[in-house]
Subunit: 252 residues, 2 copies
């Protein structure tokens, strides 16, 4: 029997701009009796990182462009929201049927460029993705090391729709301390066959595992500690490794 | 603190045609001291189901068609393997660069129509996906209930590549006993905002969580018990709900 534990922290307070997310995680882990250990993977919902980093926009302050107004009319959306989405986008991948699928400045393809209306206090406020989610992850990781002496890996997660399959899943948009992709090419299987093409997106699988707890308590679990998973450490990891360059995307 | 446990079974024997996978799972869970409990989710790698169901083809027995030979030449593949892939496919979605992306008879879009060379004993043998993975899941679930009296949910998993993001993740290709998609439309978030579009593909997230253990021990962990996750029960569930109809696929 091999075991991995998913431990959802339930006592992280409502995060506001300027809060120290790393410290809040350490305090909650201590308070809930689980602490942090070397080799833990700490998965953090981007929404609390965005709020701590002040990546929240009040729609009342937004002046939509003419183009934003056109698209908003077409899609039945709030033109101010569309304006914010366009500012966060490098390209529109597809639009229609009330949806706006964008490529973000980071390179991720997702609905509304990751701009999120839920889990933000205030009627007219929306959260953007962190400016540099890898950097956000690194800061949280370093803060945890500073406060506890423990070497953990950190993943910033977001919920994405995807082509081909229905329903959203949680994926990694920022990582620090672990290889997001486990390159198994050349490994041997149970019967000695050499694997030829297997690269496993472990950071996305860790993010998805964490959502099993994040999603359950009306968003009251923004941080999940994954204990017992033997990740491959890396000091230069980036979640951008998970973005498939358009030219090698056989599916599209 | 809320916890979900991922428990990987390490003593499932090498599965052969005709083996009773449900019974092997019960025996291993007992032997490893974890047993099975009401509400467990049992994730089973399709490869042992395929082997138990005799879905293994000896390439020496396969006569490739002229078209299979053409494609094999184009892609640098074994023409007998291509022939098997074509027999399992309802459509070729894309080909090139040594890859053959197909829509399987079940509707899943994946490389080589899910035909797998690894983890099959014998040089020239390949495994196909189960004929009806939902039915395979249901049989395992019923067998577990019969042997232990416990009501569990069962997911048959496979490893898929995907558009937009690099690396493979584990997804559900067969389910029994749980809703594969958690429809949260109308739920309220932490600040009272009504969620409008969130449907979470929990069966895929459970499959991905399980792979954190399956992938680690050179494929020696074909079954993972997920304990403590409050799934939504369903007697009519099908993994086909996770297949996005082409006409509603905004990404493609």
């Amino acid at each position: 029997m091999k075991e991995v534990r998913l431990i959802g922290l339930e006592t992280i307070p409502i995060v506001e701009e300027g809060d120290d997310v790393g410290e809040l995680i350490c305090q909650a882990a201590e308070r809930e009796g689980v602490g942090l250990q070397d080799g833990d993977v700490v998965v953090v919902s981007h929404i609390i990182v965005s709020r701590a980093e002040g990546r929240v926009v009040n729609l009342a302050d937004v002046e939509p462009s003419e183009f934003a107004k056109n698209i908003a009319r077409e899609l039945g959306k709030d033109p101010r929201l569309v304006e914010v989405v366009l500012r966060e986008s490098r390209a529109i991948v597809r639009m229609g049927d009330g949806h706006l699928i964008c490529r973000t400045k980071h390179g991720f393809v997702c609905a509304n460029a990751g701009v999120d209306r839920s889990n933000v206090p205030g009627e007219d406020r929306v959260a953007l993705l962190p400016e540099d989610p890898d950097l956000s992850a690194r800061r949280i990781r370093e803060r945890i090391r500073q406060l506890t002496g423990k070497d953990v890996a950190v993943i910033i997660s977001d919920t994405h729709g995807r082509p081909l399959r229905r329903g959203t899943i949680n994926v990694a948009i920022g990582v620090s301390g672990l290889e997001p992709i486990w390159d198994r090419r050349g490994d041997v299987d149970l019967f000695g066959y050499v694997l030829r093409v297997t690269q496993v997106a472990v950071a996305d699988e860790l993010a998805s595992a964490a959502e099993l707890l994040m999603g359950q308590a009306s968003e009251g679990v923004p941080v999940v500690i994954i204990r017992g998973y033997g990740y491959r450490p890396s000091e230069r990891a980036s979640a951008r490794e998970l973005v498939r360059p358009r030219e090698e995307d056989l599916f599209m």
